[in-house]
Symmetry: C2
Subunit: 338 residues, 2 copies
């Protein structure tokens, strides 16, 4: 069954309101990466455009592999002390911080309005970072079906998915938009599950290049961000973990290294759905280790604050601004604004 | 031979100067795309993070395929009458409009400073648009070696490439930075050569959603942009083609459809290097057909303006701002600024 999704007119409809912020510069660049030589592969031919000539294609030679990309919007007079880096989760790219499926502004715009210069990155092998040749990476990319996202991201319970949007059953209090599944699926990108070492190396290079900054990280990105803080506690001034799926193991990594790096862990609703208790256990252990070392590891369960029904994708939920405001309040309380 | 490239400190060094422009909104969204069902594939297992549980992975289900992504920066008081869409070339993504390899601002920032609201897109199967499952696309992705880029993009003549940066020989008047090849290679993304129809469909959906706009397009994107103008001459208010590699065939496509859509064709130096005469012939034919239909198709050869040595990647060349200023002057002359 195929059906066409109408092109999003949201961008068009989002007519520019009042002046929101003064910008000094917009751009983007690359971090990390390695020149690698490929040898001994046979030549092929390819036509690069329909009307173009047949060209000999020698797949051998030098390539850069392992790099990652980030775009940035630098404010002329930021109210935040440090730039805010937004790190996406698995099967996604930096696009998750842009417009929500309903066309409303996402968290990149929210935090710019709050006075943060913002960096939005794509992890290694995702988005504008490009993906590696098959002979430069183990395994094959994985594509997440809409049903898996629906359940894993706690929009509805197991068995509640339907191809027919009208028959999908969300949690009764769900804040994920009723018609948002197709829009979320358009944000999905393939991902490998074998690239943790390369991904971490690129993130570490990124942190070194940007300098003192605050990381706000989602889901799969959490393990990389928390490790990056351990590696460079002089660079990472705070870590906000939104529904992390992994963390350093305190039996192997010394949490005292981040005792001066405040951490916040934010969790949505319906956290008893598998596999979230298993994911959360690793984060809770790391948070406890930070506290035991004399550091700050605050935990916010949104339902305990009266905010019910938030999904794993809370930056796309209808109340995403309210969730972001909870994070902004914490950043302010930690002295990270001027 | 491997060697590590130092992380770009350029972003860090680019300390915010004076206030450059007032922004109303920053965001990004998706255009086009189709829900597609996959059936009959065997289940596998995967561990999504190093510390996570082994999860059953059912590759069957619904996916969205065919979508494309664009980010945007909307000015609060643009001086341009229409937003400027930047469309990248083959083997690249929207990152090509960001920082140059030397860390200096790219064309996205340049045109924002000139008063254009700017959209930066990734074509279908590139960048944040994601790439399709192997069973949803013909062929395999192609990776461009640094040597091919060096020659095809006319940085140096055939045979002038060396693995050793000190031994690479650029054209004597080259404006491409002497140490820019690694930085350019980091921007490279894999590309298919079999996806023209899907790419065009996504671009057409994008043009419809954004509304009246001006397209500035590079290289492989040119064929798609010129066809998009033919399909939607009410939406596309001008097309600036920077070194296009393809164009509609006037024996099959009626150029009169774009007689009210001014076109500009910009070419760099050393255009006699293969395969450029072949590429250029298609563009010259289409430009002539537009003029024969009573339309505007201006051609600017930069060397004839006294600007020598520009490569195919003129948005990365040392004089990129001067090239952009030539384009800005044309847009002004065509009445596209307020």
């Amino acid at each position: 069954m195929n059906r066409w999704i109408a092109a999003t007119a949201a961008v068009l409809l989002a007519a520019a309101p009042a002046r929101a912020y003064d910008v000094a510069r917009v751009g983007g660049g690359f971090f990390g990466g390695q020149v690698t030589t490929v040898q001994g592969q046979p030549t092929t031919t390819a036509r690069f455009t329909a009307s173009g000539p047949l060209m000999t294609m020698d797949p051998n030679g030098e390539f850069v592999a392992g790099q990652m990309y980030a775009e940035y919007v630098l404010l002329s007079a930021p109210r935040a002390k440090y730039p805010l880096m937004l790190w996406h989760g698995g099967g996604l790219s930096g696009s998750v911080w842009g417009d929500k499926p309903n066309g409303q502004p996402g968290w990149e715009d929210f935090f710019l309005r709050q006075g943060h210069s913002v960096y939005v990155s794509d992890a290694f092998e995702r988005g504008r970072s490009g993906f590696p040749r098959a002979d430069m990476v183990q395994g094959t990319p994985i594509f997440r079906p809409m049903q898996q996202a629906w359940e894993l991201f706690r929009i509805g319970p197991a068995g509640s998915w339907s191809i027919d949007p009208a028959k999908r059953v969300r949690y009764p209090d769900s804040k994920f938009p009723a018609d948002g599944a197709e829009g979320m699926a358009r944000m999905a990108v393939p991902r490998w599950t074998t690239t943790d070492a390369q991904t971490q190396a690129a993130y570490d290079a990124y942190v070194q290049a940007v300098g003192p900054s605050v990381i706000l990280v989602h889901s799969q990105g959490a393990a990389f961000a928390q490790q990056a803080a351990v590696t460079a506690p002089d660079r990472v001034r705070a870590v906000v973990v939104v529904e992390g799926s992994g963390a350093p193991d305190p039996s192997k990594v010394d949490a005292a290294r981040v005792k001066d790096v405040p951490h916040l862990f934010v969790w949505g609703d319906h956290m008893d759905a598998a596999p979230w208790p298993s994911f959360r256990a690793a984060l809770d252990r790391w948070a406890e280790a930070i506290r035991a070392a004399g550091g700050t590891a605050d935990v916010i369960d949104l339902p305990k604050r009266g905010m019910a029904g938030n999904s794993h994708m809370m930056m796309l939920d209808d109340n995403s601004d309210e969730v972001a405001a909870v994070i902004q309040d914490w950043l302010t309380a930690k002295g990270l604004m001027r």
